[in-house]
Point group: C2
Chain length 351, copies 2
């Protein structure tokens, strides 16, 4: 039989952070695509639209008027999935019917007063301001809640219903499912190997190099060995950092720079405003913030859906929903493509 | 504080089958939707298109010509994610870089010679034929492989690239991730409670009634207590059945009937050909098929994405991908809506 080649021969890979397997079938890239094509992105969003509830000076659903903000703007989500005062469902009467109380808050963070920019088109100081708000909102909400989830849904394809550049912050009274999985895995790795899982992982990727996308003084971006989405990446600090507020000013500046580079590469890949969901994971907060969370390493996940072009995405459906995640190109191939892309945004090049 | 009302107060629920939690925030249904709207379905698919590789007599990508089949037609996927002879990646050199061999086969099953029908528009004997092929393909591929995943992606929204009614069968040399989770949960439940998890669950739902959608002599359809997708359902035999081939002729006839009823209700909900991914889960097969799998109960999951109308879906994005699944109406509300729908298909009514 032929020698094993990851790009030719299907195999499964293990995600030790979330305790999951993925089926890698890179030869599937040869398959023609005749299915659903996504609508092209409207490239011309007006810079200011007084009817857009995220714009400075606009009136929101609850009648509140936004300030004429000039930098970022953080406010309470008008349709929050989590509210601070929901009553408890009470004790469960059967092990197969378990419900628990959920309390929390949902906030929206506008990145910029203009609707026609995105993070990769913003300046380094502007991105730095966003990072500072991420750190401070983690600190503020983390005083009360054990988990503060910062996430950005970018693009209509990712369920984002407003083109104005923004992210969300959902803080909860419970540790969400994926946080629990990462807690368990990192805890187990630390007790077995005496160091944080993601510290060793980052070091290994620096040695192996084939999945690196970007490196800087303080940060790494790589396509994880177990990536599920075609161009999924993991953003890691080099230093052992448990939570966003611990980042030094130098690390924050450097983060702004590497984020701008990564997101520029993403936009350049298919010459489109690249859709994705991204989010930050750090050690739990709340009343147990003082416990030993040294097994945690801060990181951000980027999950972009596009596979072949600006309009052809990867569908995570049938087999993926019922059996196991499946990907159509190897993480090494994805990293190589991202590495090769220019760090100047295609929209600035064309001018 | 107000007494707890599931339809008013967010809470979390536990999925004991897959060991996951879901956030239920039914008050979010009040939120207006300004995001992506799905293209309406092309209602007029030609009955026969000689260029469609799934049609009788058509030539496929590999040059093979389909027979002029009159019932179902099962053949090898021309772009399989799993092939029978892939070499092994060899031993892993590090616990964070684990890869394993994956072998298998991928088949496609056409349900009917016509492209312009779907399961709910097929006759009971025609659906019964599909069920018989599901059973026999499980038996055939299960002789060699430990897992045979039958799944249907219906609708372009669910990544289905061909409107001809069909499903897929992917058999693998490994137990996929979700199969492993269900194995672990059912095994643990059996050893703790002395009976299969899903047998007790079905019995409880028959008593509680509020999540039932359909019942028949041999089957139940319900919206599970822990449903993630808006109108997700679980289809269960009443008798303890481990795998599809064990179904009796009477159970198969009754299954055809209840599937037709369920899928008709689905189509009637938003008067559209309702998209979904569905699939069957039964006890593992292959060389260990003879072991004790009594903790397994055969079942099918239906995961439909639509939330509010034929064109507005639920997006499982940011928070869902990074923290925890979240749903916008309660499973009880969904079951009530499905229960109330007629069992005659809207397209037959209009004639
Ligand atoms: O039906 P196809 O073309 O094989 O492909 C479809 O189903 C597969 C299995 O769920 C997915 O991996 C693909 O993303 C989807 O487009
Ligand atoms: O609150 P938004 O941005 O309108 O909603 C979006 O993000 C939420 C959190 O990931 C999802 O639950 C919604 O399905 C999605 O449309």
């Amino acid at each position: 039989t032929a020698p094993f080649l990851a790009s030719e021969h299907q195999h499964i890979r293990y995600n030790p952070l979330q305790d999951e397997w993925v089926l890698v079938s890179a030869h599937r890239m040869k398959r023609p695509w005749q299915g659903q094509v996504e609508p092209s992105l409207l490239e011309t969003v007006p810079r200011h639209d007084p009817r857009n509830p995220l714009c400075p000076g606009a009136t929101r659903a609850n009648g509140e008027v936004n300030p004429h903000y000039e930098g970022t703007f953080l406010f309470d989500n008008d349709f929050p999935a989590l509210q601070p005062d929901a009553p408890s469902p009470g004790p469960s009467d059967h092990p197969l019917f378990q419900a628990k109380a959920a309390r929390g808050v949902c906030k929206v963070l506008c990145f910029h007063p203009w609707s026609d920019v995105t993070l990769p088109l913003m300046s380094i100081p502007e991105i730095r301001t966003v990072i500072d708000v991420w750190a401070s909102v983690t600190e503020d909400l983390g005083a009360q809640y054990p988990w503060v989830q910062i996430f950005e849904n970018k693009g209509a394809m990712m369920g984002c219903s407003n083109p104005h550049p923004h992210c969300q912050v959902w803080a909860s009274s419970f540790l969400p499912d994926i946080a629990q999985r990462e807690e368990k895995s990192q805890q187990a790795y630390q007790s077995q190997h005496g160091e944080p899982l993601l510290m060793e992982y980052g070091r290994q990727e620096l040695l192996r190099k084939e999945r690196l996308v970007l490196t800087s003084e303080h940060w790494l971006v790589l396509v994880p060995f177990w990536a599920v989405w075609p161009f999924q990446t993991l953003l890691l600090p080099r230093r052992h950092v448990r939570r966003l507020p611990e980042l030094t000013p130098a690390e924050r500046d450097d983060l702004a720079l590497i984020m701008k580079k990564l997101l520029t590469k993403y936009d350049n890949l298919f010459e489109t405003s690249f859709p994705y969901s991204m989010g930050w994971h750090g050690a739990p907060t709340g009343s147990e913030a003082g416990a030993n969370w040294d097994h945690w390493q801060l990181h951000a996940h980027y999950y972009p859906p596009l596979l072949r072009s600006a309009t052809v995405r990867k569908f995570m459906v049938g087999y993926e929903m019922l059996a196991q995640a499946q990907r159509d190109l190897t993480p090494e191939q994805a990293a190589e493509r991202l590495r090769a892309l220019p760090e100047v945004h295609y929209r600035l090049r064309q001018k």
